[in-house]
């Protein structure tokens, strides 16, 4: 009953560099994430000004999604691509920023523009809006990268026809430490979608 599934493409973003399908495609030297992400945005000619309103977790997830979805999403069609994302620190980076805006009664300035990003799944909303993905979406938290769960749940979505493709992502951002690893899974391709291949791609 289970159909074979494949990894169609993958990318990673960490240490000021971006790799697509294992090949280095962009890097900067001595940047903080804000500077690095802006330069990457310019380099890949993303042209989506909403990017600059996003928090760092959303920027990280969004950049990865652009690299993989640009050639896949057809703007004149429905694209049934589910979003299956996970990380360790949820939205804790922005949570801390928000907490600091309310912890001192003399400097009490809670901002809705910050508060909305105190939810990890907001990055899924950003990707869905950009690509008009009216599709299954879910955000999980694990103590560490969990290829087995992502493998199993992506296959559930495909085998139950809840989605035609699944964009999987590990998008961790806390206090300038970050790593994004995204990959697109579907029922055709060349790299078999198994735990070993996910781990190999994760470490490339």
């Amino acid at each position: 009953m289970e159909n074979k599934t494949y990894i169609q493409s993958f990318c990673s973003i960490q240490n000021n560099s971006i790799r697509l399908n294992g090949e280095a495609v962009f890097s900067t030297e001595d940047s903080d994430f804000s500077d690095f992400s802006k330069k990457a945005y310019q380099h890949f000619e993303i042209g989506y000004p909403k990017f600059f309103k996003m928090d760092n977790l959303s920027k990280l997830a969004f950049l990865g999604s652009e690299l993989l979805l640009k050639k896949v999403v057809e703007s004149d069609k429905e694209n049934d691509i589910a979003l299956l994302f996970a990380n360790k620190s949820s939205s804790l980076d922005t949570d801390l920023k928000y907490q600091n805006s309310i912890s001192d009664s003399e400097n009490y300035f809670p901002s809705p523009a910050v508060f909305v990003y105190t939810l990890p799944n907001i990055c899924l909303g950003e990707i869905a809006i950009k690509n008009q993905l009216k599709s299954e979406n879910s955000f999980f938290i694990f103590d560490a990268f969990n290829p087995e769960f992502l493998l199993q749940y992506a296959n559930v979505l495909l085998n139950t026809k809840k989605a035609a493709k699944v964009l999987c992502g590990w998008v961790e951002y806390f206090n300038e430490e970050y790593k994004a690893f995204l990959y697109l899974v579907a029922d055709e391709g060349t790299i078999e979608h198994d735990k070993n291949n996910i781990e190999i791609a994760f470490n490339k």
């Binding site: 949570d95 912890s103 009664s105 809670p110 899924l124 009216k134 599709s135 694990f142 769960f149």
Partner: protein, 377 residues
């Protein structure tokens, strides 16, 4: 064919009681957990919310353990699971799924090295999992306000894929300074107890609760079968719902398609009903687009406030009792119709035969979830 998946046990810890029976008794009598609070540690101005009394919680928790090293949320979650979990139901094929939006966020109020670790959701899940001795890695779902009901769909899907045989699902969230100030910054907080779908509503009341269910292929003691689900994004806006209810519409459609049922078979809808104008209006539009406008519908937010990541699971626990007892409860706080398209808001408690029940939720990030349940007789 996929295996049938059931919910065979439930529990909840709320301001209306620390078990399902006391919650139902209070709802039946029209009691609400929402009160006016004047606590400047939580909010500079008075607010309406449904808060669990700390003394009552301590008293209940001290009966199950003398270990005091747990946060309020951990105690609520452990108390919710405690009567349901026994070692005979835990194996290497038992999932532990935890749903929350903000977890132990109050740990950030005193910032030090440990507070960051304590605020990590995986720390919360590990603490609760270790208390009961779950053998598999916790699955944490944090998908804003749909988390609690999405957790049911995840459990059912993973069990049908034969990754697990059963799953304990727990959901919980607290009323905190963090969340109160955030909703207030959106000007979404009501200056009176919330009134979902009412023309006289003025916004959200927040609440805190924990709820738990056992999802299993074992039909023994089954209360309902989980027959279909969908969790589809609006792709419209990160902090407001689609005006056409597109994601909710598609989520319900997806759940109906899988259940192989049609709108006219649904006997009851337990909706999200946060009492914000945008949310309530969007739901009314989505229900009308699906031909569900005549189906009795309530929001339980009038009893519990919006309990965030707990709400979908808590409201399912109450909905399961409605189905089991053929008893629909009034949508507390509703008086005059406040949505532009007609929906059948339950105005008085009534006895009605219920076989199929639909639970829906929507949240920030444009997320939506719908799950269809079928009574097991």
């Amino acid at each position: 064919m996929f295996k049938k998946v059931y919910i065979s046990d439930t529990n909840c810890i709320t301001p209306l009681g620390f078990d399902v029976a006391s919650n139902i008794a209070n709802i039946e009598k029209g009691n609400t957990g929402i009160q006016k609070h004047e606590n400047t540690n939580l909010m500079p101005i008075p607010f309406y919310g449904a808060v669990i009394n700390n003394t009552d919680l301590e008293a209940a928790f001290s009966k199950i353990t003398t270990d005091g090293n747990f946060t309020k949320l951990e105690k609520m979650m452990i108390l919710a699971l405690y009567p349901m979990v026994d070692s005979s139901k835990i194996s290497k094929k038992t999932a532990f799924i935890l749903s929350t939006t903000k977890g132990n966020i109050t740990a950030l109020e005193k910032q030090n090295g440990k507070s960051i670790d304590k605020a990590q959701l995986s720390d919360l899940a590990k603490t609760v999992a270790d208390f009961f001795g779950f053998q598999t890695e916790p699955i944490i779902i944090s998908n804003a306000c749909v988390s609690g009901v999405l957790a049911i769909a995840i459990a059912k899907r993973m069990i049908q894929a034969e990754v697990y045989e059963n799953a304990f699902v727990v959901a919980g969230d607290l009323v905190s300074e963090f969340v109160l100030s955030g909703f207030n910054s959106f000007q979404a907080m009501s200056d009176a107890p919330c009134k979902p779908y009412s023309a006289n509503r003025t916004g959200v009341s927040l609440g805190e609760a924990a709820a738990a269910i056992l999802v299993t292929t074992d039909a023994t003691n089954a209360k309902v079968e989980v027959v279909g689900d969908g969790a589809i994004n609006d792709a419209n806006h990160i902090s407001g719902p689609s005006r056409t209810g597109e994601g909710l519409y598609r989520s319900i459609q997806s759940a109906f398609l899988e259940s192989a049922i049609s709108a006219d078979q649904i006997d009851y809808i337990s909706a999200h009903g946060t009492a914000t104008p945008f949310n309530d209006e969007m739901e009314a539009i989505a229900f009308n687009r699906l031909g569900l406008e005549g189906v009795p519908v309530n929001s339980l937010k009038g009893y519990y406030g919006h309990t965030l990541g707990a709400s979908g699971l808590l409201e399912t626990v109450i909905g399961i009792e409605s189905v089991a007892q053929n008893r629909l409860f009034q949508s507390f706080g509703f008086d005059e119709m406040g949505v532009s398209q007609s929906i059948n808001v339950i105005q008085e408690n009534e006895t009605k035969k219920c076989d199929y029940f639909l639970k829906t939720a929507s949240g920030f990030g444009g997320c939506n979830t719908a799950v269809v349940f079928k009574k097991v007789s």
